[in-house]
């Protein structure tokens, strides 16, 4: 926790720069039609092209000469032009509410488009929103904010990856993750490892290294029509991230400093029984090496009880300091920012450090030539990544199992780290699989070093009044260096661990590079007639991806405690390489009729290297298109007066996707191991039967929407309905192992999604000192698996939990069902019990069935923003409904007598009557005393999945911030332009939740299609902290 020491330092280590302004400045105030000041309005001197914006009191200063023209604009208001006739005046300008809303959003290829012209759904979230409550992964801030975008995260702590699914999954085996574009360049967001049922670590994802402070806005292109121009890689939607440049906010130099310090504690989800102690069948244990069975006698009232969870888990701390310099000149703007993040997890040996440097500049080199360049570098250092799942290397599993009267500190050992001698595990029980949590916490040798360089540039040349040419190119280069251990079935063999004391070491350096280059020629708006205008572009692009990994695996460390690969009995080298490329050509045409009807048509053809092979007869390319229409009803027909704006939109699109991995079209051979007795060993690579006929899958989407603003824009409503259908999905159809292979790929899968998205925003109070804005979004997505493979077989999409369960795709069911074994039930649905050893035991049905849906189909987000004078309070609630979760934690607690359900209302002595019926039709007898253990040992055992499947509805208090903005009067005369202090919080509890003992989203494999599986990960934390922002 040495990070503590840094807080005081860095928080106040604000170095000060002053800014110089030219003389001849004029000042003024911009008000709305009711005379209230408008902060953030833009004032541009059309002569010098300088621009400023108003401060919080609507005031501005700008340099101007006589006869210059100032243009004042603000979203939602008519633009106003003012000719300067007197330099000494203080101007007060009242803007009129606009009839049209000229909001713009960033859309495909970074073009700003008028919202009203869009025939499809794009949601833009501004950077302020993103950095309000910072998280180590920037997408966390989007949770619940965008209807139709389902974001979940792993139970893997601060380094975890985030899963984003837009409008449902469209492919059985694809990642179903959107395409991420940062400043025009696609970035890699590969999942770098996930935990299996027997353990593993979350390797993080590409996006987790992007710094939230550098984000200017995020646009989510939800539908196919929005994403179609990006082609096959955008079949799951696009998330466009624009990073901050200098902006036009203010001339000269600006400095922005911020600090955010967040403390995280585990939440109070874990509620075990605390009344029965260590032992079996009601008898106290005499075996000191069995601390995990809470089937002993009732604890006497004076017994000291321990909250072992809070003993083991620490207070996590994440501190972000950032400083940004901006410079604006007549020719352009530049922004440089540096951000440092230091964080420790609720397992404080798990650390994360990140330094990010970001340089963005936009320069108008001549009237015709504009260049934008951006370089982002960051280095991330991770240590002690916590192992999830049922693994001897996980601290999370056994800590939940200690009986109530056992103090887990008894297992610290004399060295204080869970070892007998400083190196070897002090085993708490006789089972080598049951790890001492202190050992797993303190002897974790895992570390990951990541270096990432993202560079992008765009050069635009205006050929003439109508035509421009633009080149956009860049790359994303990641180097990840893993120091890891490996082991059987994902069990990570930490040296010293009882499971495998010598341990293994694994070191790997992986470089992932991807390049994008696009060249296009477009028009700057051509008026064909007075009513009819055209805009468009035609382009060509290429995307290349290359990854290379070099690793060394060392088996069996020799000198105890020395964690280097040379210190192993033997080593094996590993090398992996892959390269793929997509070349494309595309065109976009937009027609505008009287600024009232807009039609956009796109076409794109992609060629895939991954689908190319000598002699391949099926195509290696695909052509697809989209069309979308936007009709401004409020401009075309007479609408009731309360409706200030109404727009109807609709679109249709086709995309292709799933071109997949390179080298998968032909059978190859490779050498295995390092030979035997001097002879090389060779075999067929992989267990998949290659299929040379594979083509991309097709995804068609239709979308309609209605966008309305009412009561002078105080209330707005946006509704969208969509249907999409994937055909010819590339399915990894399981083959009988007797074929020699486990799967083959075929273009057979079919899946549909349909859904509704509603966004309602309202300004409830709008007074001078007091305002209240509320927003509510709702989304429901219904997916349906139409076809899995030629025989309609159930497909396993992801491994499940320890029970006989997995996440599957079954025809006629939604995608991603939890599939597993169930209770045997009679016609009336009652669970059938059978007397075994005199105890009624619930019986298992041998046939597996659908037990629930791993992905919640319905989600809501509700936010409130209350401002009073300089204070503002923001609260956001997120809810998900209709999903289920299969929980290893609850199963384990039931088996070990730790679950509250194992203690009936009157105590175990009184007993309980299980729901159900006996096999002969009679009533189920009472289960009491030691029989309760026998009952739960069987009912919660691994072969009945149903017992541990819970409905998983919840509403979470997901974000909170209480912000104080220092008044201008206080700051006047200082170098500080604005100052904000905020109390911020993340994940602060639940309004309600269904599943006991765990967070409803404590998923183990959230970064895969394997949703809805809880496999004993890190407890999810509640965070609270302080945020300071200064602008100089």
């Amino acid at each position: 926790m040495k990070i503590y020491k840094h807080i005081i330092f860095t928080s106040f280590l604000f170095f000060v720069f002053s800014i110089s302004l030219n003389a001849q400045s004029i000042s003024g105030i911009i008000n709305d039609s009711e005379g209230l000041p408008l902060p953030g309005a833009t004032i541009q001197n059309l002569n010098t092209l300088d621009g400023v914006s108003t401060d919080f009191d609507g005031k501005f200063n700008i340099d101007a000469s006589l006869d210059d023209v100032l243009e004042i604009s603000f979203i939602g208001f008519e633009t106003f032009q003012l000719k300067i006739s007197n330099l000494s005046d203080d101007f007060t300008i009242q803007l009129e509410l606009g009839n049209e809303l000229d909001e713009v959003v960033v859309s495909s290829f970074g073009f700003e488009k008028k919202t009203k012209a869009l025939g499809y759904s794009v949601t833009q979230v501004e950077g302020d929103e993103m950095s309000r409550v910072k998280s180590t992964n920037p997408l966390q801030a989007l949770r619940g904010k965008v209807a139709g975008v389902n974001i979940s995260n792993n139970a893997s702590g601060i380094k975890g990856s985030t899963r984003v699914v837009i409008r449902g999954s469209s492919s059985f085996n694809g990642s179903n993750q959107p395409l991420y574009i940062i400043d025009g360049i696609s970035i890699q967001n590969e999942q770098l490892g996930t935990a299996g049922e027997w353990g593993g670590i979350d390797g993080g994802d590409g996006l987790s290294t992007i710094n939230p402070d550098d984000i200017k806005s995020i646009s989510v292109l939800k539908g196919g029509a929005a994403a179609a121009l990006y082609g096959s890689r955008a079949s799951n939607g696009v998330i466009l991230i624009t990073t901050k440049d200098g902006g036009l906010e203010r001339q000269g130099l600006g400095v922005e400093i911020s600090n955010q310090t967040i403390f995280t504690q585990i939440n109070d989800n874990f509620n075990p029984q605390m009344s029965y102690g260590n032992g079996l069948l009601g008898v106290a244990s005499t075996n000191s090496l069995d601390p995990f069975n809470s089937w002993g006698p009732k604890l006497s009232s004076g017994t000291k009880l321990y909250d072992n969870m809070n003993t083991l888990y620490d207070t996590g701390l994440a501190m972000t300091n950032s400083v940004a310099f901006t410079s604006n000149t007549e020719k352009g703007s530049t922004r440089v920012s540096f951000t440092n993040l230091e964080a420790s997890d609720v397992i404080d040996t798990s650390e994360l450090k990140r330094n990010s440097l970001n340089l963005t500049t936009v320069q108008n080199l001549s009237d015709k030539l504009t260049v934008k360049a951006s370089i982002k570098y960051n280095e991330t250092r991770e240590k002690g990544n916590v192992v999830m799942g049922t693994s001897p290397a996980s601290p999370n599993e056994t800590i939940r199992n200690f009986t109530p009267e056992i103090d887990v500190r008894d297992y610290l050992g004399e060295f204080g780290n869970g070892t007998t001698d400083g190196i070897n595990e002090l085993l708490p029980s006789t089972s080598i699989y049951s790890t001492n949590p202190w050992f797993a916490k303190n002897n974790n040798p895992i570390s990951v070093y990541r270096d990432r360089l993202l560079a992008s540039t765009s050069i635009q040349y205006n050929i003439n009044e109508y035509l421009y040419a633009k080149l956009q190119a860049g790359f994303d280069r990641n180097t990840n260096h893993f120091n890891n251990t490996t082991g059987q079935g994902g069990n990570l063999n930490f040296p010293g661990i009882s499971f495998f004391p010598k341990g293994d070491l694994y070191q790997q350096t992986q470089t992932i590079k991807q390049h994008d280059a696009d060249f296009f020629i477009g028009t700057n708006g051509i008026n064909i007639t007075n009513d009819f205008s055209f805009n468009g572009f035609i382009g060509t692009g290429t995307f290349a991806f290359e990854s290379e990994a070099v690793g060394v695996l060392g088996r069996n460390t020799v000198i105890p405690g020395l964690l280097t690969i040379q210190n192993t009995e033997n080593q094996a080298a590993l090398y992996q390489y892959g390269k793929k490329q997509i070349n494309s050509t595309y065109a976009n045409a937009e027609f505008d009729y009287q600024d009232k009807i807009f039609l956009t048509v796109t076409a794109r053809n992609d060629w895939f290297s991954t689908l190319s092979a000598v002699g391949k007869e099926t195509p290696n390319n695909d052509l697809y298109g989209s069309a979308s229409l936007s009709v401004i009803l409020s401009d075309l027909v007479e609408l009731p007066s309360f409706l200030s704006f109404a727009k109807l939109r609709g679109g249709f699109s086709q995309v292709a996707g799933g071109a997949g991995n390179p080298y998968s079209l032909s059978l190859t051979y490779g050498l295995i191991g390092q030979g035997h007795l001097g002879s090389p060993l060779g075999a067929i690579n992989g267990g998949n039967i290659p299929n040379v006929t594979i083509t991309p899958f097709q995804k068609d989407e239709t979308e309609i929407g209605l966008d309305m603003k009412m009561f002078n824009n105080k209330l707005s409503l946006d509704i969208a309905y969509y249907e999409n259908k994937t055909t010819g999905d590339i399915v990894n159809a399981a083959t009988s192992r007797a074929s020699g292979y486990t799967a083959t790929t075929i273009n057979l899968g079919e899946m549909t999604n349909q859904g509704v998205e509603i966004l309602l925003r309202g300004t409830v109070i709008d007074k001078e000192d007091l305002s209240l804005d509320l927003s509510l979004n709702y989304a429901n997505n219904q997916s349906n698996v139409v076809k899995t493979d030629e025989n309609g077989n159930l497909l396993q999409i992801a491994v499940g939990s320890l029970f006989n369960s997995f996440i599957g795709a079954k025809e006629g069911e939604p995608f991603g069902v939890i599939y597993g074994t169930s209770f045997l039930r009679d016609d009336q649905g009652r669970v059938i019990h059978k007397l075994i050893d005199g105890v009624p035991i619930a019986q298992q049905e041998n046939v597996s069935k659908v037990l629930g849906l791993g992905v919640a189909p319905t989600q809501i987000g509700f936010g409130g923003d209350l401002s009073y004078k300089n204070f503002s309070l923001y609260v956001f609630f997120e809810g998900k409904f209709g999903g289920s979760i299969i929980s290893d934690t609850n199963s384990r607690m039931k088996q070990l007598g730790r679950h509250q359900i194992t203690v009936p209302a009157g105590g175990r002595e009184v007993g309980f009557t299980p729901d159900g019926v006996m096999d002969d039709g009679s009533a189920v007898p009472l289960v009491a005393g030691s029989d309760i253990q026998k009952y739960w040992n069987t009912a919660a055992r691994f072969d009945i999945g149903e017992e541990n499947v819970y409905t998983n509805d919840f509403i979470r208090i997901s974000q909170l911030s209480l912000n104080y903005r220092f008044p201008q009067e206080v700051l006047q005369g200082t170098f500080i332009k604005s100052a904000n202090v905020a109390l911020v919080g993340n994940n602060l509890g639940f309004i309600f939740k269904d599943v006991p003992n765990i967070d409803p989203e404590a998923f183990n494999r959230a970064n895969t299609n394997g949703q809805g599986v809880e496999g004993i990960g890190m407890p999810i934390g509640e965070s609270l902290g302080l945020s300071i922002n200064l602008k100089l």
């Binding site: 793929k580 490329q581 991954t610 490779g670 001097g678 060993l681 007797a738 292979y741």
Partner: protein
Amino acid sequence: MKKLNILLLILSFALVSCDYDKGFEEMNVDPTASTSLDVNQKFAYLFLKSASDEYEYTYTEVLCAAQLVQQLTHQTFPQSSIFSLREDLLTGSWDVAYVSTIKTVVDIIDQLEKDGNTGTEMGIARIMKAYIFHKIVDAYGDTPYFDAGKGYIDSNFRPAYDDAELIYMDMLKELEEGVAQITGSSTLGNSDIIFGGDTTKWKKFGNSLMLRLAMRIKNVDAAGSSAWVAKAISGGVMDSSADTAMMVHTNGPTELNKNAWGIHYVRYPRSRLGKTIYDWLQAKNDPRLNIIADPSNTYGGNPYGFNDEDLSAQGINVGDLPYTHVNPAISRADQPRMLLTYAQTAFVLAEHYAASGDHATAETHYNSAVTSAMNQWALWDSSFALSSADINAYLAVNSYDSANYNELIGDQFWVASFFDFFEAFANFRRTGFPALKPFGGNPAHPENLTNGTIPRRMIYNPAEANINKENFDAVISSQGPNTRTTKVWWDN
């Protein structure tokens, strides 16, 4: 505007006429893999993988077969001691063989056929194919055979299950033809990591396997059995310990090189010697007790028919699990694995001659077999070499007995097949010896699913019921339910 239109036209033409997939076919060729492979490297992999696969050996041979024949126990996985069910253990051999050894041997035969090879190498491949399949058929009964491993070659994703009898007949035919194809030396060179290029030994191996298979079908096809036994003997079976087929293992560099038992021994420290074999060796004063059992703990064998809870209830500290371990001196990763031994061959010959009334020849083979089985342990560690005097003294007490040859040979075969648990299990099922009692003679365990009887087979991967439904349903209706009590064809 006109200029603009022309420019756009030119540009559009340029874009459309580009060669957008130039170089893609070359790019999509994996630079780290080859589309072909020298057959010798495939052979070497086949030999090693046939001898030792950690998963297969741990799951199915040790945790199932070794408990069923009451040689080892593992209290964490007591299902084959109390006859309850844990599917993944029982399916292990089936799951592994098809996607490794069977796939490889089918690929080798395909390559040899394409090369027009009808000689020694093809002969060796066919013998290996029979060797790999006989273990699968013996464990599971009817199983995909004729169409197996051809997912790529024939795009057969869901092969039919073939009748065990047809498979047996075909394996015998393959052995006969395969042995006949072996002439002179092979081109395997140092890839022949079983016999080091000695093709005579390959012939003996093929004939000895033929003898094993022929004897296996004795109870269901007496005439066929005799005919094939005669063929095997006249072809020439193994006749000394030097003919034994085995794999020499090394301690790394990878797990693949290691003896699977050596890996298991480190990783699964709750393995113990079974009470049945411990008591048998002790009662006979068998010098092999000191070889097989860990001399440092003389608790005795772990009893059968109990799980941890039962043992706890008896006052046993299941943490320490005070039963004798297998001797660590025979549990190293660099020790050999027997594929088919001379001792096993000689015992089967002894049985054959005894049954035909030629007890003199039977006795000769019996004595050779016991001697070879005793000497065999010197291959693990030279310190285990027994003196002729010791062996003769043992044989004097455990001498051939024409009145009780079945039990005598069956018991000795069982001990001689320690570590070759599948073979011990097959021979026990056919001969009924050793006369193992369910649960080691202890009361039937309440969780047993076999009506208290010793299971007779492993089970197919239940996933087949989904993935290969039609064929799976067909085999269930012809062979019987996919349970441990359904018997394989020759087990009657």
